[in-house]
Symmetry: C2
Subunit: 202 residues, 2 copies
Amino acid sequence: MSIDSATQNWSTAERKIMEATYRAMLEYGYSGLSISRIADQFDKSKASIYYHYDSKDDLLLAFLDFVVDRFKTDFAEGVDEDPNSALTTVIEKLVPLRMNDEEFQGQRVLIELRSQATRNDAFREKFTEINELLVRTICEIIERGIENGTFRDVEAARVAEHIVATVNGSTIDRVTTDRETAPAAVRISLVSYIDSELRSHR
Amino acid sequence: MSIDSATQNWSTAERKIMEATYRAMLEYGYSGLSISRIADQFDKSKASIYYHYDSKDDLLLAFLDFVVDRFKTDFAEGVDEDPNSALTTVIEKLVPLRMNDEEFQGQRVLIELRSQATRNDAFREKFTEINELLVRTICEIIERGIENGTFRDVEAARVAEHIVATVNGSTIDRVTTDRETAPAAVRISLVSYIDSELRSHR
DNA sequence: GTCTATAGCCAGATAGAC
DNA sequence: GTCTATCTGGCTATAGAC
């Protein structure tokens, strides 16, 4: 899937509403979101929001697309490098030693939306897509590396699933606990796992 | 920390309210929880809830304790076996090949509560506790195994962090996506990682 | 301890002017 | 497209009887 096909054409007004929703979500969380609070985050009235979206649910589905598209676009960078660099790039992006504030806020929003996937099918499908994209992308990098002799001949799909689970677990830990040293420990351990599983020459 | 010290003394009425909250949470989710809906889940009126709890926030904090205590009690089983069995027991419990419905619903509730930890300090502290407990417990199992010669002499804390991140990532995947084969793949890969990291004799 | 009734507030959504 | 004004209903929380 290309970036273009995943990205909707947002009108200016709609993009402004999405940005306002993002700010309201950061300030009040999913359970504290309201149309009034979204309207307070930009220069239009709340009635104008109903011109662009039929209902709050409709707006939330669009917002889910908006946030997930951003994540996918960001993730797609650097995956076309040679297998070794691509894998390093991906790991560094998904488990940074130190996450900047913008990424951190984005992950806060994502985890709140993800928790809705337990009850809402449209949300569930989106997060299924995200995890499939992560696994498929990493799997393809590993397969390319096996083909050109960079990596050992492992079960690429199994290793990719392991990496994605570890990466996701680390991210959740980062945004829902105060365990500040944990992400770096996982990063080191994950790189060491990848080295011994894919790059060792025994 | 013993199970007793972690478990509060819930009165009968309070336990009934907690059970009702649990059912309401399953049906409506965190953002759909209301005092009326909780009252509808048992045989008392909503005013009676305010006799036992000062406010909705107060009730939610008690509910967080209730759910987390259950999780901790459940997790504590089997960790006192010999290191090899204890590690296997823990992994099988945290990444079951097939999760039964009760466990699954419990994890759904936990992830919704966990997502609140991004905005609420009391919630954040609880989930910090949970992850610390998981890491510490697994770390101690590994250290016991190293001492008695069952396991190789690895950095126990680092391996424990890796295992916990992978386990948590797998659980989130299970409750927020439709990727039904993913948990089993992670389980196999995780066991293989543990074997080669701790149990190999090269 | 539990009830019914209700106060007061804010939500989602719509009407109709411009 | 955006506004102000407003409807309806559910929410948290309390009052006061039993």
